[in-house]
């Protein structure tokens, strides 16, 4: 399995990239630019951005479940401030967030 760059509990930032054209991206718009924490490492899977266009020889990329606080995701979130949302995100869409262990030199 491809070595995972992040560990459970690491704070991560979802990249704010908005590529155009024919794409098949599994990172929802609403979560781009948000900071969450790694909940678990799901394994490594073939990149859906390649698979969708017939590139089956693509590399496997670590997939994570990332937990976000709803109040961080939606400015006007009205529920319990402890409410959360968890999203599966591939590693190439994640960057270390401030305070992340992977930030250390």
């Amino acid at each position: 399995m491809t070595e995972a760059r992040f560990q459970v509990g690491d704070p991560v930032l979802v990249t704010s990239r908005y590529p155009t054209g024919r794409r098949h991206i599994r990172t929802p718009f609403y979560i781009r630019g948000k900071i969450g924490k790694i909940e678990r490492i799901c394994g490594a899977f073939k990149n859906p951005e390649d698979l969708a266009f017939g590139k089956y020889e693509t590399i496997r990329i670590p997939l994570y479940r990332v937990r976000f606080d709803q109040v961080e995701v939606w400015n006007d979130y009205a529920g319990n401030p402890d409410d959360t949302i968890e999203v599966e995100i591939f590693e190439h869409w994640l960057e270390p967030a401030e305070g992340s262990a992977t930030d250390a030199p």
Partner: protein, 212 residues
Amino acid sequence: MPHEQHEHAHDHSHAPIQADERQGYYQRLADATRNLLIEKGVFTAGDMRAIIEKIDGRSPALGARIVARAWTDPPFRKRLLARGKQTMLEEMDIDPVVADIVVVENTPDVHNVVVCTLCSCYPVFILGRPPDWYKSYAYRSRVVRNPRGVLQDFGTTIDPAREVRVHDSTADMRYLVIPMRPDGTDGWPEDKLAELVTRDTMVGTAEVSIAN
């Protein structure tokens, strides 16, 4: 002018049986793709029929058996939460087919609800085909943003003090919610408990009740 009635070799007449609407673009694309794959020998029409029959043979009863077992067998529940697919496969001979099943459990502190905002990913091999609402834009767009409001629309009120945790099934994982076991079911056998566990309770839009 189409004929309204016609006679043929049996003893009654009826309107001609015909498709009442033209196939849409994606239906025609899907049919053409299927025909090409069959022509190229990738699979046969029989293979396709068999897989559809296999999917249609799955129902929420499978998931309900898993939940009932989890309620009555704490070590099993622990293994299920840690390794969903492997535990279902090895201990109950239920194959969820997908890469893995993330099993999450409702507790007095947390209520879980599952969605796929990007399309309609759903654990069909343990719950059967998804309900139409699960695939609707309304559910998919609203439940991430206002989960308590959507649950309320389903008649499910979550105590404001409990955390609501939404799971967006965006990639290779599929999800199963273990609902809370209702009070008053002490000593019930697994098969009787399984009858209480409905589809929606395993997606997280409802809670299990004895009154169901």
